[in-house]
C-alpha cells in the first residue's frame, strides 16, 4: 500500500509519533487516525475489508469524530466510489467519485500520472493550512482525482483544469498531495493535524 514509513517519519519530525497498525484495538485506542497509501483503490478497499476495518473506521471517524487524515489514495478512499479498474465502492464519507485524468478531448496534452510539485489554491478555510501561504507547492503523484459537489473543497489545483486537491468535512481532512513529501509546507500540515484539539 505504499510508503507508511515516510508518513511515520514526518510525524516524528514534528515531535509526535504515529503507530503503524491494522490492529482493531490499537485503532480504537488512537487519538487520531491517518490513512495514507499509494496503489490502487480496489486493493485499498479490499485490504480494509479483509482486515474488518471498515465498520471500525466508520465508528471511530463518523460517530466518535476522531480527527482523520487521508493522504493520496487515503483521500480517494473516503469517496463514494471509484472508477479505477471497474467500479469499486469506497468508504462513502463524502458524496463523491474518483475518476481518471483524461485529456483526450483537450488540444494541449497533459501527462498522466500527474507527478511533481503543483500549487494548491485555497477555496475555503481548512485549519490544517494554518500558517501556510495560499498557493504553496506540494508534491503530487496520482492518475485519478476526486470529484465532489459537496461543499467540502478546501483547495483546488490546476492540471489542465482545476481539480480538487484537498477536502475537509467536520473531522475529516484529506489531501491528494503528499504532505509527508512536501518539505516545510507539508510538515506544517502534519504539525497542524497533530495539534488539532481532540474533540472526542
Amino acid at each position: 500500500m505504499g510508503n507508511l514509513r515516510s508518513v511515520q517519519k514526518a510525524f516524528e519530525k514534528v515531535g509526535s509519533n504515529a503507530v503503524i497498525s491494522n490492529d482493531m484495538s490499537v485503532i480504537q485506542n488512537a487519538s487520531k487516525i491517518v490513512l495514507p497509501g499509494v496503489g490502487s483503490f480496489r486493493d485499498g478497499m479490499k485490504h480494509l475489508k479483509e482486515l474488518n476495518l471498515i465498520a471500525l473506521l466508520n465508528e471511530e471517524v463518523l460517530e466518535k469524530k476522531k480527527p482523520f487524515l487521508g493522504i493520496c489514495l487515503g483521500m480517494q478512499l473516503v469517496a463514494s466510489k471509484s472508477y479505477e479498474n471497474g467500479i469499486t465502492e469506497g468508504l462513502d464519507w463524502i458524496d463523491s467519485e474518483v475518476v481518471k485524468f483524461d485529456f483526450k478531448a483537450l488540444e494541449k496534452q497533459f501527462k498522466v500520472p500527474h507527478v511533481g510539485w503543483n500549487n494548491a489554491k485555497y477555496k475555503k478555510e481548512n485549519i490544517l493550512f494554518r500558517d501556510i501561504t495560499d498557493s504553496s507547492d506540494f508534491y503530487f503523484v496520482h492518475s485519478y482525482y476526486f470529484k465532489t459537489q459537496e461543499d467540502v473543497i478546501s483547495s483546488i489545483t490546476d492540471y489542465g483544469f482545476d481539480f480538487v486537491s484537498s477536502v475537509n468535512k467536520d473531522n475529516i481532512y484529506a489531501f491528494q498531495f503528499h504532505p509527508e513529501k512536501s518539505q516545510g509546507v507539508g510538515l506544517k500540515i502534519i504539525e497542524n493535524f497533530v495539534n488539532l484539539e481532540n474533540i472526542c
Binding site: 505504499g2 510508503n3 498522466v112 500520472p113 508534491y139 513529501k181
Partner: protein, 251 residues
C-alpha cells in the same frame, strides 16, 4: 500549474555518494546522509540515488545507507540499482524510498514492470533507459551487456505500455560531460509518451536545462553541476523562470 522538477541524481559506491563521467570514472561527492540533509535543507524537488555497487557487482542492495538517506528526505526519493525482484522493491520502499528505478531487470523481463506496478502502483515505477549514440543512431546501452540493438523511443513506449510511471532517460555520452543535455535524443521523445520523462546527463550551465525542457523533457536530473560548479538548483530554476518555464521557487 505543474512545475518542472530539477532532480539531483547521484550514485552510491563504496558507502559514498559519487558522480560518474560517462559511466566510467568517479568523483566523490560526499557522505550520503550529510549530502541528503543538505539537499533537503535546500528544498530540492526530488532526489534519485542509484546504487551502482549493487547493479554492477551483483551485490546486495545497501539497505542500511538507503534508510539513512531516506531519514533525511522529506521530498520524494527514488532508489535504483540492483533491483531484481518484487521482494527487493518491498525492501527498498520499507527502507523509506518512494519510487524505484528499474533498468537491467526490465531489459531481461519486461513483464516485471506490469507485476511491479500492479502491486506498488505505476507512480512507484521509474523505468530507466541508458542511451549511447553509435554511428549517428541512438541505441539502448546496458552497463552489464553493452550496446543493445534497441531503439530508445520504442523501448520507452513498450515500458509505458507495461505500466511504467516515469522514464529516466540518461545519455551515457553526455553523462558528466557538462557540455549540455543530448537535445537530439530528447527531441525524439517530444510528444511521444503519455508519462513524464526525466532527462539525465550533461548539464553544465542553467541554459542547458532550458533547452532540455523546451525540447521535451518534463523534468531534468543532474549531479556534476550541483557539486563541482558554482550553480545551485535554485540558479537553474531562476533561469527556467526567466524563460517562462514553470518551476517551484523556494520560499
Amino acid at each position: 500549474m505543474l512545475k518542472h522538477r530539477i532532480i539531483p541524481c547521484v550514485l552510491l559506491k563504496d558507502w559514498q555518494l559519487v558522480k560518474s563521467i560517462g559511466f566510467d570514472s568517479f568523483r566523490t561527492i560526499g557522505h550520503p546522509t550529510s549530502t541528503a540533509r543538505i539537499y533537503n535543507a535546500r528544498n530540492v524537488d526530488e532526489l534519485i540515488v542509484l546504487d551502482i555497487d549493487a547493479s554492477v557487482d551483483g551485490e546486495e542492495i545497501n539497505y542500511e545507507i538507503i534508510t539513512d538517506i531516506a531519514d533525511e528526505c522529506f521530498m520524494p526519493l527514488t532508489i535504483g540499482g540492483g533491483i531484481k525482484s518484487i521482494d527487493d522493491i518491498y525492501a527498498v520502499l520499507n527502507a523509506g524510498a518512494d519510487k524505484v528505478a528499474l533498468n537491467s531487470i526490465i531489459l531481461e523481463d519486461i513483464t516485471f514492470i506490469k507485476k511491479a506496478s500492479s502491486i506498488f502502483g505505476v507512480q512507484c515505477i521509474v523505468c530507466s533507459i541508458d542511451v549511447k549514440k553509435i554511428d549517428g543512431e541512438y541505441k539502448v546501452f546496458n552497463k552489464n551487456r553493452g550496446i543493445l540493438d534497441l531503439d530508445p523511443v520504442a523501448l520507452a513506449l513498450s515500458y509505458q505500455e507495461y505500466g511504467a510511471g516515469e522514464i529516466l532517460l540518461t545519455s551515457v555520452d553526455k553523462e558528466g560531460s557538462t557540455t549540455g543535455y543530448d537535445i537530439g535524443l530528447i527531441s525524439l521523445f517530444k510528444n511521444r509518451l503519455e508519462i513524464p520523462i526525466i532527462l539525465n546527463g550533461g548539464m553544465g550551465k542553467p541554459e542547458d536545462a532550458v533547452s532540455a525542457i523546451q525540447n521535451g523533457a518534463d523534468a531534468i536530473a543532474a549531479a556534476y553541476i550541483f557539486h563541482f560548479s558554482q550553480y545551485t538548483p535554485n540558479d537553474i530554476k531562476q533561469k527556467l523562470k526567466e524563460n517562462h518555464l514553470s518551476v517551484r521557487i523556494n520560499v
